[in-house]
Symmetry: C2
Subunit: 367 residues, 2 copies
């Protein structure tokens, strides 16, 4: 009888709750935590905190956020320390921003490169609220000849290429630091920032790849010269050559890009009418057009944009396809932005695998 | 003040709970639900129900498990209907079994094939408890010249290659049906089967690929001839030719196989001593040896098996690697079973992408 009672419990498992089908983050590494957004299954324009991709260089930092203060010093008139209360009390800015890891789509490079093998999901979007960085810099009073602003995170550890311990630290050139959209964020999608995404304060640098948006800010330092930390001068550099460092240049702005969300690559389909859909985004300006090719790139048709393109946000696009003839189809999409940038046929191969933005491509079979 | 209170709530996020890093299922499709186990991050020998891979042909079925009965009819003396209570009261069998989807590692085939692009995680293992199928068949009394036993699941829907509606239905030859390890299971890891994994009753066919282990059994039919349903004669057939069906043969037994869990493919490592580890399994007999090559397959060393190989279960293996010299390394593993089967250098390419079991291979860089 005990057994039957246990199984009566089991019967509850057949209610609709147990049939809910959810997508999850896609685990790439656990320590440090690196997980992709299941981008093909994200229909929302505001990705939930739970499905926002996680990209870390180190294990999660230990620090007391109860006694948190933000210092700004270096080449300034008034070295300052701000409490969270002071920061929350300042005029705020709220913006919808795409964050994309510069290693997004890394697994597509040929020849293959080393590092986390990100698919197409190291990208997410949501609404960030915070204080413009320039407001804080105005309080501190930058001195003449300021060149860069350095952001040190609480996260730290050794690197695979060295046994020294480093904090994750990045700099911004003064022009980008003073951009009205560059903010020190404390809310995401109308909730306090979650710990994993940088609580209590993180930088948000719209239009730049995600490495610029330092989490768990420990301090801000204003400098007169170029910052030379390893996350600025070793990583996050495009090295176009396999054998040497010639032709290298830093990773900054997000490249114009698009991703087909439906259908999936290598999907089998019945004959019928389908709405192909996806997203497109860029780091400079706005998306101007998204085009699709159903014949492997010979001819291109415009896709329908589902919303008005905005700076820093992705745009959703659709295309209605009458898949009446059986066979294999290669589907390609290319986005063009208002600055005249267009997705190339081939990506810029680089040794560390940053900034992949070749024309998106899938193959499906109608049977 | 309201805002500060909200952020006091936020501060809880910095406790250790919020830093827990978990792997998740890897979403391949949502409807029907197909999700892989994050196999590289599974350290347990009993995969939790939550991380057990999910492979479905159709949306989850709707049926009342409160009024569930299992009919057995066809070519038998006593067509019977069993209640769950009757089945739970029969002598039971409990076995640790690997289930592997025949599409496991499908994404590795070159040229690429269509269908869910499974990585290395369409495999899980745990302890199943149920009644031996042959016990039920003895109650029903199979008549002479019985050839196959047919299992119909409650799950149904159209196929991509047809607009008819089918229930997922598969047959077993009489010999495999009478094997003492073939059971009708109602418990997994000491808990009632979860709905998603076939509650209230599913077949478990140890040693065969997962398609044989029909979930949500609706009825069992004993037949004198060969079953011809589409999941028996169209799908789950090896088609070694791209262009035609010549040379085809059915998918049955799990091929001998191994997977490297650590390091990850394309991982960057510091110099140091590492414990390479993984799993190996086979459908017939037991794993005899697992060998590793650190030089791309020129020389092979034995791995250490962490537990005594058992029929139907995977074995864990390790190998200590002194990674003292910087450079790129291709690591390969090959398992051999007691029946003399060994992983081949090249997989048997087949149009639908079943049974991939080529030597496992990753590339890492020590820097």
């Amino acid at each position: 009888m005990t057994k039957q009672l246990r199984f009566k419990g089991g019967i509850h498992l057949t209610n609709s709750d147990s049939k809910k089908v959810k997508p999850y983050l896609i685990t790439k590494t656990l320590v440090p935590e690196n997980q992709e957004t299941p981008i093909h299954f994200v229909a929302e324009d505001l990705v939930s905190d739970k499905l926002f991709y996680r990209r870390n260089h180190f294990p999660y930092p230990a620090f007391s956020s109860s006694f948190y203060f933000l210092p700004i010093d270096g080449h300034v008139q008034n070295p300052s320390v701000f409490s969270l209360e002071q920061i929350y009390a300042m005029p705020s800015k709220t913006i919808k921003v795409v964050l994309e890891c510069s290693g997004d789509k890394r697994e597509l490079f040929k020849p293959k490169v080393f590092g986390e093998q990100m698919g197409k999901g190291a990208i997410s979007q949501g609404i960030w609220k915070g204080v413009p960085l320039r407001t804080l810099l105005q309080y501190a009073g930058m001195l003449d000849h300021t060149k860069e602003i350095v952001f040190e995170g609480y996260d730290n550890g050794p690197r695979t290429d060295s046994n020294n311990v480093y904090n994750f630290t990045r700099s911004l050139p003064i022009e980008k630091a003073l951009d009205e959209d560059t903010i020190i964020a404390y809310e995401y999608n109308n909730h306090p920032l979650s710990f994993k995404h940088g609580f209590p304060l993180r930088l948000i640098v719209p239009g730049w790849y995600g490495m610029a948006s330092v989490k768990w800010i420990k301090k801000i330092v204003v400098i007169e010269k170029e910052f030379k930390g390893p996350f600025q001068t070793v990583d996050y550099i495009y090295y176009p050559n396999q054998e040497n460092d010639s032709g290298k240049f830093p990773v900054t702005t997000i490249n114009v890009n698009s991703t087909i969300q439906f259908p999936l690559d290598r999907q089998l389909l019945n004959t019928g009418i389908y709405k192909i859909n996806g997203i497109a985004w860029t780091g400079e300006g706005k998306i101007a057009t998204v085009e699709i090719s159903m014949d492997g790139g010979q001819t291109w048709d415009p896709c329908k944009l589902s919303n008005t393109p905005k700076k820093h946000a992705w745009v959703r696009w659709t295309y209605t396809w009458n898949a009446l003839k059986k066979g294999e189809y290669t589907i390609k999409t290319r986005a063009t932005d208002t600055e005249g940038n267009r997705q190339p046929g081939k990506p810029l191969w680089n040794r560390k695998g940053y900034g992949y933005n070749a024309i998106d491509k899938i193959t499906v079979k109608v049977e």
